[in-house]
């Protein structure tokens, strides 16, 4: 394993020189990729002294609560469920503005994945776990065990007798992927296939043969079962669909239909689909066996690995990745299918870390990581109407910041765009104002950023303290060391003075410096 790790960090020769700057670049990448926050000064000092320390730090990062929260956002790009545009509209949702409720509902399957990592459970728990995740809004409306007064996301269990099959039993998944009588759960079946075994039926062109009259129901049913242009997909798709009728609703606004599981509807496949419940060519009894069948599918584990790789490398899998994915898959299996280990290995892989080239391509900060990175540095939690601004869409800015809304926008931005920069500019304005205002009221020892000044200094009174503070800000926000009289600090001092010259407002001048650092191109590109 040590040898593998050394190879993964591109250090086949342990004596290979890694400059302090390069060591910090790698640390920044791993920290932002895994935790969505910049490394601390202590972590930076650690790798500057010993570049190999990045391995141990990375192992710590995947035990960090921020990693689990970041995973929830990563998997939104796969599940596409955390959306305010969810289909179901039950009439008993007890909140004035139902949109945050639907957003929370859509998080349920994502939180399950996060919890699997948090508890270091084998990945198969995603489809075999006898539990789910809920927070207070869901806990008070879903048929789950929920202690009165409990708040926040917690592990819980459904009480309506639905099978123990992880995300396959999650209301949040089926509220996102609804169905109709004509569709008969096929949409949901494809969602399962795409999410869990990386097989998207819609990737194949659908040939509507001209000799199949779509107006003739009997002819269509016959074609689905017998026509070569249809059977190729439907022979495997329809049995999957047949497993899901416990979640079949006839009324999209019913107060109860969408909340509870309907065992009495499980056999509706007979009339609506016609194919016996199954998975991958094998008949099964139904949903209770679907989870284990998926977990045993030879595609399940490689799919998990390729998804993780794609999420971290920020690109689609290519044929050139085959050998890498095979190695990662072997290690994933050997290590007990632990997401923490998988993401640690991927984060340190030369291709992801950028150590396999002299000029590694910069990476664009994800929207959720923009928010968490700024919050970690300033304490500013950017919210609108109860939702994180960078994780929501109707009033939030997720889409403008390059994020995945889930229904209308399904691909993340991988390159800078004008709206991403505008969002960053707005966040810089908000967070810098917040940081300066709150830290002025705190003793230096309790501050996050302004630990070297008292907001009374001017260049005339204590330029040294100011310059050292600028250095400190540069290190904390952009993870770069600067010279106390170098060009970066000089430029910030000039900015500070130009702002101070307007009206003598010292905190205002520091606010401008902070604003400028958050707007620096290297905050977004790392």
């Amino acid at each position: 394993m040590v040898g593998l790790l050394l190879t993964l960090v591109g250090c086949a020769d342990p004596a290979a020189e890694v400059s302090p700057q390069e060591a910090v670049r790698r640390l920044v990448r791993v920290s932002l990729d895994l935790r969505g926050v910049r490394p601390t000064e202590a972590e930076i000092e650690q790798v500057e002294a010993d570049p190999a320390a990045i391995e141990a730090l990375t192992a710590e990062f995947v035990t960090d609560e921020r990693f689990f929260a970041h995973l929830v956002q990563l998997y939104q790009e796969i599940y596409l469920s955390e959306t305010e545009g969810i289909d179901l509209r039950p009439s008993n949702v007890p909140y004035d503005d139902a949109k945050p409720y639907y957003w929370l509902v859509g998080q349920e399957p994502l939180q399950i994945v996060g919890q699997v990592a948090r508890e270091d459970l084998p990945y198969t728990e995603v489809v075999t776990g006898d539990w789910t995740m809920a927070e207070e809004h869901l806990g008070e409306t879903f048929p789950v065990e929920w202690p009165e007064g409990q708040t926040g996301w917690h592990k819980t269990r459904y009480t309506d007798g639905r099978p123990a099959v992880g995300v396959l039993a999650a209301n949040g998944l089926w509220w996102r992927y609804t169905t109709t009588e004509a569709n008969a759960n096929r949409r949901r079946a494809n969602a399962l296939s795409r999410i869990l075994v990386c097989h998207n039926y819609l990737d194949r062109p659908i040939v509507f043969a001209a000799d199949i009259p779509l107006t003739d129901d009997a002819a269509v049913r016959d074609a689905i079962s017998n026509d070569p242009t249809c059977v190729g997909c439907h022979s495997s798709l329809d049995p999957i669909a047949s497993n899901l009728f416990g979640f079949y609703w006839s009324n999209f606004t019913s107060a109860t239909e969408g909340l509870t599981y309907h065992e009495e509807k499980e056999t509706m496949w007979g009339s609506l689909v016609g194919a016996h419940p199954g998975w991958a060519g094998r008949e099964i009894s139904g949903l209770s066996e679907l989870g284990p069948a998926i977990a045993a599918d030879p595609r399940f584990v490689p799919c998990a690995v390729s998804q993780a790789w794609s999420l971290m490398a920020r690109r689609k899998v290519t044929p050139e990745d085959a050998a890498t994915l095979e190695t990662l898959t072997d290690d994933f299996v050997t290590g007990g299918l632990k997401l923490r280990t998988l993401y640690r290995d991927i984060a340190l892989h030369p291709n992801v870390l950028g150590t396999d080239t002299e000029n590694p391509e910069a990476r664009l900060l994800r929207p959720d990581a923009i928010g968490t990175a700024v919050e970690q540095l300033t304490g500013f939690a950017w919210e609108v109407e109860g939702l994180p601004v960078l994780q929501s869409d109707v009033k939030g800015l997720r889409g403008l910041a390059g994020g995945v809304e889930g229904v209308l926008i399904k691909q993340p931005a991988l390159r800078p765009s004008s709206t991403i920069l505008l969002v960053m500019e707005l966040l810089a304005a908000e967070s810098s104002a917040y940081a300066v205002t709150t830290e002025q009221a705190l003793p230096a020892a309790e501050r996050r950023l302004f630990t070297g000044i008292d907001f009374t200094e001017t260049p005339a009174s204590d330029e040294t303290a100011m310059r050292e503070q600028m250095q400190s800000l540069y290190l904390r926000i952009l993870s770069r060391r600067t010279e106390v009289d170098g060009p970066e600090v000089n430029a910030l001092m000039e900015l500070w003075s130009s702002l101070h010259d307007i009206d003598g407002d010292i905190p205002g001048a520091w606010r401008g410096v902070l604003d400028a650092l958050f707007r620096d191109p290297t905050f977004l590109l790392y």
Binding site: F208, N359, E361, S417, L421, V423, L499, I502
Partner: protein
């Protein structure tokens, strides 16, 4: 909080000139030609799947098709359509604009899943990493525009053309971010004053220029894209007072803003959706007649407004925007020819599309519907139905639009032929 001039409302400036007394103002001026490279596009997307038999598709003689009881065949400038007493806006539109309108009938979108059909109808392929027509055409406009493809609503698949796509946000959030309208800072009296903001912005310009000057031949595309994005962002900020994005309450507002964006030279393509919420209000699985009536009425009333605004607004390459803009009206799917037990109509993979304005051969219908309510193969050159013709698919629509916009369609849609029959 920054304040500026109230945004210009084109409808406000023009008052109620849509009234009868102003009819003479609406006579289209002499047609001027504009090059395809200068042509602009407004896409109006009906989200949820419209029922072509309510406006475009004649199923009166087909026993499979449930037409509305009081619907009638109508025609204007050689273009056949369906008239209905409660939808006078449809007749008004065709009476006025049929000579500039082409309709594609029996267009195949090979799926009946909404999300798959969004991608197919807008990109011609199943891959959700593909680039949609509006994004491709916008990007082709290059650095001439600060928001080459402005998306006011609806699905968006920018693909490789992401740097050219500017989302307005479902609540017009682009205005807020472009204006730098803070919430916490404003509420706590901590907004930077204008002189401070100006000096900070000047510092940032120098910083970004220094960042960009580090570009070398081997520099990353991220750096190059950052520089372009910065330039565009500054351009958007400069135009923020003239776009009332946060006040888009209905399709009329969206039309107003779309025309403004073209008139300002901000965008080459604008994407609108009906309804403006982006919800699938056209998805009439129940009460098809009532719902489609409401939606088509609203749509055509706003298409009338849109055309009026285009005709009343000076163009950048022609006397009016109407002469340099093509309006593309489509939906991700059609609906079954028959009603279901709930009086609704379900998903159908064949639909219609409408093209209006610059570059369009008016009074033309391409394609048709066979006895099983599927599209005929057609000769792309003539638009005539022929057994030896090609199936009309999304790629054909895309090839047509890209050709209209001076973009080589082959890299995007392969050998799909543009429909020459609809191109003037």
């Amino acid at each position: 909080m920054r304040r500026g001039l109230p945004p210009i409302s084109r409808r406000g400036l023009l008052g109620s000139a849509l009234g009868a007394g102003a009819a003479s103002m609406l006579a289209p001026p002499a047609r001027a030609s504009v090059s395809p490279a200068e042509r602009k596009f407004i896409f109006v997307y009906a989200v949820g799947g419209w029922d072509p038999t309510r406006v475009f598709a004649d199923g009166f003689d087909n026993p499979l098709v449930d037409m509305e009881d009081r619907a009638e065949r109508a025609s204007a400038s050689g273009l056949d359509y369906i008239a209905y007493p409660e939808r006078p806006a449809v007749s008004d539109f065709f009476e006025r604009y049929a000579s500039k309108t082409a309709v594609i009938q029996g267009l195949l979108v090979p799926s009946i899943a909404h999300e798959a059909c969004f991608i197919l109808s807008m990109t011609g392929s199943f891959s959700d990493s593909g680039s949609d027509w509006a994004a491709i055409l916008g990007a082709a406009g290059g650095s001439n525009y600060v928001a080459p493809c402005l998306v006011l609503g609806g699905p968006s698949f920018p693909g490789v053309n992401l740097p050219s796509v500017v989302l307005s946000g479902s609540s017009g959030q682009l205005t807020t971010v472009a204006a730098g309208t803070t919430t916490w800072a404003s509420a706590n009296g901590q907004d930077l004053k204008v002189p401070a903001r100006q000096r900070l912005d000047a510092y940032m310009s120098r910083r970004v220029q220094a960042f960009g000057s580090s570009l070398t031949d081997t520099s990353s595309t991220q750096v190059r894209d950052y520089m372009i994005a910065h330039q565009q962002a500054e351009g958007i900020k400069g135009l923020r007072h003239q776009l009332a994005l946060s006040s888009i309450a209905n399709l009329s507002d969206a039309c107003d803003i779309a025309v403004t964006a073209l008139q300002l030279g901000m965008s080459r393509t604008v994407m609108l959706c009906s309804p403006v919420t982006g919800l699938r209000d056209w998805d009439s699985h129940t009460s098809n007649d009532d719902l489609q009536n409401v939606m088509f009425t609203d749509l055509f009333e706003n298409l009338l407004l849109l055309m009026f605004l285009l005709e009343a607004t000076p163009g950048r390459s022609a006397p009016t925007l109407a002469e340099e803009t093509t309006v593309v009206v489509f939906s991700e799917m059609g609906r079954t020819p028959w009603r279901n037990d709930a009086g609704g109509k379900d998903h159908w993979p064949h639909t219609s599309a409408m093209l209006v304005g610059s570059g369009i051969r008016g009074g033309v219908t391409v394609g048709g519907w066979d006895e099983s309510w599927q599209g005929y193969p057609v000769d792309p050159a003539t638009g005539e139905a022929t057994e030896s013709g090609v199936a009309l698919g999304c790629a054909s629509l895309g090839a047509t639009l890209l050709t209209l916009g001076d973009v080589d369609p082959v890299p995007w849609v392969g050998d799909a032929a543009p429909l020459e029959a609809v191109i003037a």
